[in-house]
Amino acid sequence: MEHQQDYSQYTTTNFFSDEQFIRHVLNGDEASAAYWDLVAKQYPEKVTVMEEARIWVLLINKQPAYHPATDQSQLWSRVSTEISAYEHQQQRYYRPLKIAARWAGSIAATILLFIAIREWAAQGERSYRTDFGKHEQIILPDESVVTLNGNSLISYSRTWKSDKPREIWLHGEAFFEVKHVAIKNRLQESDSFHVHVSDLELTVLGTRFNVKNRRNTTEISLLEGRIRIEKTGKGAFVRVLKPGDAFVYDSSKQQLKDLERKPQINKAWTNNEMDLDGYTLQEILNVLEDTYGYEITLQTPQLAQRRLTGTIPATNAEDILFVLKKVFNLKINQKGNHLIISQN
């Protein structure tokens, strides 16, 4: 911008249609701002018309995009349906001929190879397992997110087709953020997401929930959306959860009942915290065993039902143990993974 132009004859219109000026108003940077400041200083009588020109540009530029009342995803499904119909027709009547005629040699071979690799990669089952005390976040093929707590396992079939429900198997504890795929007012079986845990089947639409399956009990805590819990066979039942509901199911007694602890508390682990409200000391020790891999002997049984409230950091088990030790005045004797706990 060394070559400064002569702006003495400039009117609003000139500034408005000056490319450099437009660029400055729309995408100005420090350099262009300095340049136009300089122009304003050199031509103080032009400040007003420069401002006018700036406003003209902005009045047009700052308009928000029009948002129609029509439905974007519905329009796409119309396009997609028509594409499928077209492809189907092509494959039946035209494509074989065309391919034979046109796609000779290496191009066809490359494409076949790609298809073969894709088919092969889509086979089989995927599973993720976490070690004691580790978390892992897994993004499923539909972009749903599963956060696995320590010592937990999920598995699912790699071939998630859009016309089949999504299915996943869980052992241990996980927090789910399920992507909603249903088109408004057109809910189909294929849009649902199933979690198999213990001998239950959870049917889910887009939603966020925690599932903890340890020691024959399964806790289900719902934060958003809807879940249907179904047990078939002996002791069959169906239950629908609303946000804020938390239920616990005992597979040895086959019974489902309300859980005193609220959903928000049950997912605290995903933030590396442990919210102690509603836990007895025994339950906390169970978490240390199940999620962090300790073996614990509580030598003072009367401590088992003691409670405390508050949130403690739970990045590692030492944090939790430290707090317990201080609050309950405990003596903790550690031998490798084995903790012997007694009153001090």
Binding site: T13, N61, V79, I83
Partner: protein
């Protein structure tokens, strides 16, 4: 945009999910552009549907492009204008949206200037734009709203670059004659309070 081009090429090789990515990215901008020609949402929807099906069917003949945006705008414009031709044998173009709450859009404090005053200034601009031909209005929109270069606009509207320039200068003269100085002064004070 490079990423755009990668997706564009994947679509050209027959990946339907890439076409969906393009659809999702351009649905709102194209709808907005279409809305400038016609307020009939269903007609615009039909044009969009035709456009994307046509893209898919012709994907083997579609070339790489420097700007996916420009390609789509041009193709969409052709589809839409053909539909409008059948319907009304002419095309219109609206630059300024009716019934917009400008005080909110510009994010200013209401105590500084009355809503009525601002509305009057906006109306003046709208009147000036009204005096232009639809083609002039479209150029104004593409340059100042879509932020396209004149070369791109000429290519999109199938005009020569020099006639695009001529059209826009005439358009700007029209603008000048219809905005009164005092209104602009007030607005300039108002806008200078808010950084661009």
């Amino acid at each position: 945009m490079r990423e755009d081009n990668v997706i564009w090429n994947a679509f050209r090789y027959g990946d339907e999910s890439s076409l969906k990515v393009i659809f999702d990215e351009y649905y709102t901008p194209l709808f907005n552009y279409g809305h400038k020609f016609s307020q009939d949402d269903h007609l615009i929807e039909d044009a969009l549907q035709d456009l994307f099906i046509k893209l898919w069917k012709n994907r083997n003949n579609i070339k790489e492009t420097e700007s996916v945006k420009n390609y789509l705008y041009k193709a969409f414009r052709r589809v839409l204008l053909r539909k409008l031709d059948v319907q009304q044998r002419k095309y219109n173009f609206t630059v300024l949206e009716q019934g917009l709450d400008w005080s909110q859009e510009l994010g200013y404090d209401q105590t500084l200037i009355s809503r009525e005053r601002l509305e009057k200034i906006r109306k003046n601009l709208a009147t000036a734009l009204e005096k232009m031909s639809p083609r002039q209005r479209e150029i104004i929109h593409l340059r100042y709203y879509e932020e396209m270069e004149y070369e791109e606009i000429a290519e999109l509207m199938q005009l020569s670059v020099s006639s695009t320039y001529k059209l826009v200068y005439k358009a700007i003269d029209t603008l000048r004659n219809h905005l009164s100085r005092t209104d602009l002064l007030l607005l300039s004070i108002l806008l200078s309070l808010k950084k661009i």
